[in-house]
C-alpha cells in the first residue's frame, strides 16, 4: 500500500472511530452544557451529588447487565429482584434484632443476606438459561413476575419497613460518605472501574464477547459456554444485591412497587452506551455514560421548566432510539 492510501485508510478509520466511540460521550457533554445554561444550580455540589447518588442504583445494575447483554443474554427480572432482595433483607434484619440487638454486626449480616439473595437469584436465572436451555427472555420474564409477586406477598400488599432504630444506624450508608462523596457514588465508581477492567482485560470479558458474537465458535474454541453464561447472571444478581444494600437505607422500606421499571432503565443505559443488544460487543464505560445521560435528562427536566417533567419517559425513549440509529455501523464495501 502506498503512503497516500494508508493515509486515506487512516482517515476513514478515524472518522468511524470518533462517531462510534465518542458519540455517547459527546451527548453527555452536550447535556451538561445544556443543563448549566438552563439553571445555574445545575453544577452545584448538591445537585451533582444528588444526580450521581441516584444514578448509582441503576448504574451498578446496568454494569452487570452489560455483561449479560454482551454474552447474548437479557435479564428482565432485575427490578423485581431488587425489590425481593430488599424485602428479604429487611425481614431478616428485623427478625434478627432480638438475637443480635441493634448494632453494626446486624447491618453487616443484612448486607451479606442481600448479596447472597442476589447471588442465588442470579444463579437460578443463569442455570435455567444455560443448563435447562430456556430462552433468557422467557426465564427472566417469568422470574420478574415471581419476585415481584413474592415481595408483595411478603409485605402482605403493603410496605416492609426496617426497624426504626436500625434505620437510624443504617442511614449513613446512603447519606454519608468519604471526603464529601457519598458511599453509593464511591461504590458505583469502584464497580465501574472493576467492570471495565474485567470486560476489557480478562479472559472472562473476552469469553462473554465471544459467546455473544457466535456461541458455536466459542464452544469450538474450548470456551466453557454454560459456565461463563451462568456467571454473567450470577454477577448481575450479586450486583443487584449490592445496589439494594445502597438503596434500603435511603427509604428504609420495600414494597411491591420498589424497583419498578429498573430493568428497562438498566437495559436502556446499556444500549445508549454502545453495547450491542444482540451481544458480541460491550463496553462498561459506555454504560456508565448511558446511565448518566438518562439521569441528567430527568434532572434537567425537573430543574428547568421548559418541558414538563411528565415527558421524561418520552424523551428518554427518543434518546434510546436515536442512540441506536446513530451508532449503527455503516456497511463497509467488501
Amino acid at each position: 500500500m502506498t503512503e497516500a492510501t494508508m493515509n486515506t485508510q487512516r482517515k476513514i478509520n478515524l472518522r468511524r472511530f470518533n462517531f462510534h466511540v465518542l458519540g455517547p460521550l459527546l451527548a453527555l457533554i452536550a447535556l451538561i452544557i445544556l443543563g448549566a445554561l438552563l439553571n445555574p444550580n445545575f453544577l452545584s455540589y448538591g445537585n451533582v451529588t444528588n444526580v450521581l447518588a441516584r444514578s448509582a442504583f441503576i448504574g451498578i445494575i446496568a454494569i452487570g447487565m452489560t455483561f449479560v447483554i454482551t454474552a447474548g443474554g437479557i435479564d428482565l427480572s432485575v427490578g423485581s429482584m431488587a425489590a425481593f432482595v430488599a424485602g428479604v433483607m429487611i425481614m431478616c434484619m428485623n427478625a434478627l434484632i432480638p438475637a443480635m440487638g441493634v448494632g453494626i454486626p446486624l447491618i453487616v449480616v443484612g448486607m451479606c443476606i442481600a448479596l447472597l439473595t442476589g447471588f442465588a437469584a442470579g444463579m437460578l436465572n443463569g442455570v435455567l438459561i444455560s443448563k435447562v436451555k430456556i430462552e433468557a427472555f422467557i426465564v427472566t420474564l417469568g422470574s420478574m413476575g415471581i419476585y415481584r409477586s413474592l415481595v408483595t406477598w411478603l409485605a402482605d400488599g403493603g410496605t416492609l419497613s426496617l426497624n426504626f432504630d436500625l434505620r437510624g444506624l443504617y442511614r449513613p450508608v446512603y447519606y454519608d460518605g468519604l471526603l464529601g462523596i457519598s458511599w453509593p457514588i464511591i461504590v458505583f465508581a469502584v464497580v465501574a472501574i472493576l467492570g471495565e477492567l474485567i470486560m476489557r482485560h480478562t479472559a472472562f470479558g473476552r469469553h462473554c464477547a465471544a459467546i455473544g458474537a457466535n456461541e458455536q465458535v466459542a464452544r469450538y474454541s474450548a470456551v466453557n459456554v454454560d459456565r461463563s453464561r451462568t456467571a454473567t447472571y450470577v454477577l448481575l444478581g450479586t450486583l443487584v444485591g449490592l445496589a439494594t444494600i445502597m438503596y434500603v437505607p435511603r427509604l428504609g422500606s420495600a414494597s411491591g412497587s420498589t424497583g419498578v421499571l429498573w430493568e428497562l432503565e438498566a437495559i436502556a443505559a446499556v444500549i445508549i452506551g454502545g453495547t450491542v443488544l444482540k451481544g458480541g460487543y460491550g463496553r462498561i464505560w459506555g454504560t456508565v455514560v448511558g446511565v448518566l445521560i438518562l439521569s441528567l435528562i430527568d434532572n434537567i427536566l425537573n430543574l428547568a421548566s421548559i418541558v414538563s417533567p411528565y415527558l421524561n419517559g418520552a424523551i428518554q425513549g427518543v434518546v434510546v432510539i436515536l442512540a441506536v440509529v446513530l451508532q449503527r455501523e455503516r456497511k463497509t464495501a467488501d
Binding site: 485508510q9 477492567l197 482485560h201 473476552r206 474450548a222 458480541g280 460487543y281
Partner: protein, 500 residues
Amino acid sequence: MSDSVLALRKISQFFGPIQVLFDVDFDLRPGEVHALIGENGAGKSTMMKILGGYLQPSEGDVLLEGKPVHFASLRDAEAAGIIMIHQEFNLALQLSVEENIFLGREKWRGLLLNHKAMQAESRRLLERLDCYIDPTEKVSNVSVPNRQMIEIARALGRDARVLIMDEPTAVLTSRETDILLEQVDRLRAAGTAVLYTSHKLDEVSRIADRVTVLRDGHKVLQADARDLTEHKMAEAMVGRELSHLYPAKAEPQDETVLEVRDLTVPGHVKHASFSLKRGEVLGFAGLVGAGRTELMEGIVGLRQGTGSVLVNGKPIKSGSVLAAREAGLVYLTEDRKEKGLLLGKNLRENLTLLALDRFTRVAIDARAEDEALTRAFKEFDIRAGDRTMKAGNLSGGNQQKLLLAKTMLAEPDIVIIDEPTRGIDIGTKQQIYEFISRLAAEGKSVIVISSEMSEVIGLASRVVVMARGRIAGEIEGDNITEDAILRLAMGISERKAEVG
C-alpha cells in the same frame, strides 16, 4: 460465433483506495459455459457481483446484448434474466422449500397464495435435479447439498438467460456434482449462458467451453477449455510453476498417541475404534453424512458419546473441549465461518481465543497477543490489509490460515483437521499441505478429513474409510487408491483391508 448476451468492457473496480479489478473484459455467449477461475481474492466475486447487478462498477460498462446497461438493483438484473446463485446460500431457513423457490414471485389465486400450484412447480423443478425433497419441508431441516439444489431450482424457475454460479459444487458430493453438471449441460443446450466458478479444476475442464483466469484483479488468460490442461489453468492462477502439489509423506513412528475405543455418538456414529501414531497423517474418507465430522466432534468433546478416548494411554474426560485441549488434542472445524472464527472481531482476538489462558495471568497480556499475531502472520503467511481488520474481511484462504494459526497456538500434539482446504485456491492449498506434512515431520500427529479423494490420497499414509456411521475399513500405503476408498465408502466390500 454468436454475439454475447452479457459482457463487461474495460471494467475497473475500487473499494475505497484499493483497486480490485483492472480493465477487465469479459463476455458470456448464449449456450456456453464460461468458467471464471482464480485464487481467493483475485476478484472473481467482485466481477460476479458486477455481472449480477449487485455492484456498480467504478469504471467501464456492463453490456446487455451489446447495449450499456445500469442495473439499479438486483431486481433489475433478475428482470433481465440474469440470476446469480451464491456460494453462501440466500435461503430463508424458517420458510418451506416451496416458499423459498417462489420467494418474491409468488403465484396468487385471487387474494390468496396458490400453494398447490407452487408446490407442484417446485416438485417438478427439483425432480429435474434428481432431488426428491418435499416442497413443504422447512429449509432448516434440509441437508446442505439439497439446499444447493433448492438454490438452483429457484434459478431454473426464473427462466434465466444468464446464470451465474459461484462455486456451486463446493458442498456437493461427487454424485451430486454429476447431477448438477448434467443440469448445467441441459441449460447450455437450451441456450442459457452460464458463468461457472469452481476451485475444482477437473470440473472446469469437464464442463466449460471457455475459461477466463483472473489473478490479482487482472485477466491473465482467456482460452477455449479444450486448449487448456488443468495444470496450465493452475499455473495461470498462481502465476508461477507448480511443482508437486503434495509434499513427501512422513514416516509414522511406532508410538501410539491416540486410541479411540468403541466410540458411539448417538444418531451419527456407531462403535468406532481406531488409533493414531506419532508423526502420522491419518486420512478419513467417506461420503458426506458418513459420520466423520461427528466422530471427531465426539472425540474432542464437542458431542456427547459413549466409549473411550485415550491420549498417550490416558483416558480423557468426555464432553469437555477444554480437557481434550489440555491433553493436546484439538479439532479444526470444517465450518470456519460459523464455528471457527468470530467474523466480526479483529484478528488478534480470534487468534488467541482458543489458547487465551496462555496470555492471561489476571489480565490478558495484549502485547503478547500482538506479538503472537505478528508471528502468526509470518509463520502462516497470512495476508491481511491491516492488523486491525475484522476476520470476516479476510479472504477464505487467509481465514483458513488464521484458523490454523489459532489452533496451533494451543500447542497441540494431535491435530484433527476437517476439510482443510474447502473453498480455497490452489496456491493456498499447497501451503496448507506443506504445513500438514511439516507437522507430522515434527512428531505431531494429524488426522485429515476430506471429501476430496485426491487430498486424502496425496497426504495420508493410512486412510480410514467411514460409511453410514461405521468404520468400514482401513487402507495403508500403496493400497490407498480412489477405487479402494470408494468401495469401502459405498459399502461394497466390508473387509478390514490390509491391516496387520
